[in-house]
């Protein structure tokens, strides 16, 4: 009997997913850590956000990064001319669902882009996931457990076969990776950052990158959520000034209300297990993090006020792989089936809302610019004197001028597999979109002017 138990032990242990660990008391938070590196021009803040959309989004984002890598960026740092490229200037990289894979891979393999192309973009991930269910054979046994789901298995596949067993602690300190998911019970955005792991009393650095991307792409109905364990200490989340002040603002400010609601929910120690699904349920373009960053004490807001190193360029770059397939439902009398309606409900309102967020980002950028215009410089505003008009750059299929190319791109499927013809289509359009983006052209011109006239 004992022998049988010992033989089954590895399988029984394997039936539980790899949960997050409690926070180490010696843990040093990344949040306040300076995000910098040798080839970083500290006078710019570059935030790039990749939307969801399966392999379509991952490939489009990756090809945009390839194009940015070709754009020469030179600047003077400590009296030395640094020859770099625009992609190396990214400070924050945000990804949702398919976009989260490209964002994570960029942090791991910026100098060997072929790795991600081979392991993800050019691969039929859907087929590989099905094969992984059957081989190794104990994977099927694990799936019999109620606490181990197909999403856990997908997370493990990504961990082993895409991210080379890397954990959050293996990420470089720049760019800072922001993987989005949705907290199912509260409907709040949950990022795989230490700030959010603090809500669970948990340590981010020992967590795997694979399950984080699995959560970010766990589309409801098709895939189960990823579960994280809470180790939070009672009342610990209610002591901070930010919570107290948000409570005071929560009647007039709905965002403050949701912030308090989320903290109170996480602080309820009977909520021991938290479940996370596709980040696209609340924000399919990764732009909420930009809006949060611009609000009081957000990372962009603080950087704008950091006058020991004056900010010259604020770059908000959005890669939107949103598609809009030709709809066939109105050609038939029969109403769409329930599963189709679920898909409509889960995607269309969010696509519209994500578009509104982009408009809000541009309006805020304009407001900042108005505040800091040179005609208004006084002693108090001289801290913004170097700031140029913020660059709000958007790469989207909408901008393709050629009708047939645009239609073809907007009809690309949302899946974890694209044919080589479909990938070639993306490889054709992305350089054109990058070349024709007016805000990006303005940025490239000022980068060169900065260097020439410095």
């Amino acid at each position: 009997m004992r022998l049988l138990f010992l033989c089954l032990l590895p399988f029984l242990l394997g039936c539980a997913p790899m949960y997050n660990a409690p926070k180490d008391s010696h843990f040093k938070s990344l949040v306040e850590e300076t995000i910098t590196s040798d080839n970083d021009d500290e006078s710019i803040l570059f935030v790039i956000a990749f939307s969801g959309g399966g392999t379509r989004a991952a490939a489009m984002s990756w090809y945009v990064l390839e194009e940015l890598k070709k754009i020469h960026y030179r600047f003077v740092k400590n009296g030395t001319v640094i020859n770099s490229n625009l992609a190396d200037q990214i400070d924050y990289i945000s990804g949702i669902s398919g976009g989260s894979f490209a964002a994570t891979a960029w942090c791991l393999y910026p100098d060997n882009m072929q790795v991600f192309e081979n392991n993800f973009i050019n691969k039929n991930i859907q087929k590989s996931l099905v094969e992984y269910m059957f081989w190794p054979p104990w994977n099927l046994i694990r799936l019999l457990s109620r606490s181990y789901t197909r999403t856990d298995l997908a997370g493990e596949y990504y961990h082993h076969h895409i991210f080379n067993k890397k954990l959050f602690r293996n990420l470089p300190n720049r760019p800072k990776l922001l993987i989005h998911s949705t907290h199912l019970a509260t409907g709040e955005q949950f990022l795989y950052t230490q700030d959010h792991f603090d809500l669970l009393g948990s340590d981010l650095l020992s967590y795997r990158l694979g399950p984080a991307c699995a959560a970010s792409s766990a589309f409801p109905v098709l895939l189960n959520p990823i579960t994280l364990k809470s180790y939070v200490v009672p009342e610990s989340l209610m002591k901070e000034a930010k919570y107290r002040i948000a409570k005071k603002n929560s009647v007039e400010d709905i965002d403050a209300y949701y912030y308090c609601f989320m903290r109170e929910f996480f602080n309820d120690t009977t909520n021991k297990w938290h479940h996370f699904s596709d980040g696209g349920l609340v924000d399919n373009r990764g732009l909420q993090i930009v809006l949060d960053g611009l609000s009081t004490n957000g990372f962009i807001n603080k950087r704008l006020h950091e006058t020991n190193k004056l900010l010259r360029k604020l770059i908000i770059f959005n890669v939107d792989a949103g598609s809009f397939p030709l709809d066939q439902t109105c050609k038939k009398q029969q109403a769409p089936r329930v599963l189709s309606v679920v898909q409509y409900a889960a995607t269309i309102p969010m696509d519209r809302l994500s578009g509104e967020r982009w408009k809000a980002v541009k309006i805020l950028g304009e407001e900042i610019w108005q505040t800091t215009q040179s005609s208004f410089h006084t002693e108090e505003t001289s801290n913004y004197k170097n700031l140029e008009k913020p660059y709000c750059i958007e790469i989207s299929f909408r901008a393709i001028e050629n009708d047939s190319l645009r239609t073809a791109c907007l009809n690309l499927p949302t899946s974890f597999y694209l044919t080589s013809e479909q990938l070639n289509l993306l490889k054709t359009v992305v350089p054109i979109l990058v070349k024709n983006e007016p805000e990006l052209s303005r940025l490239i011109k000022t980068v060169e002017d900065d260097y020439l006239y410095r």
Binding site: E240, A241, K242, R244, I245, K248, N249, E252, D253, A256, S295, T296, N297, N301, K302, L304, H305, E306, T307, N308, L364, E367, I368, Q370, T371, F376, E379, E380, T381, N383, Y384
Partner: protein, 68 residues
């Protein structure tokens, strides 16, 4: 967007950080751009007082001034 300027009642020679809701954000005597609503303001000096203020109806030309 709202505007705030924090001043010291006893000026000091060094550059002093402002604390908004307990977090360092900007410096004394500089224009800060923040959201509308209540905030807790202090400065990064020993025994500095903390004030709760409501930011509303400010402009970049007429920011709210708080003396700590």
């Amino acid at each position: 967007m709202q505007f705030l300027k924090v001043k010291l009642n006893k000026p000091v020679k060094k550059k002093v950080s402002v604390l908004i809701n307990g977090e360092k954000n900007g410096y004394v005597n500089e224009l800060l751009m923040l959201d509308e609503g209540w905030i807790e303001v202090s400065v990064d000096l020993p025994e500095a007082k903390t004030k709760e203020i409501k930011l509303k109806n400010t402009t970049r030309q007429k920011p709210m001034e708080v003396v700590i």
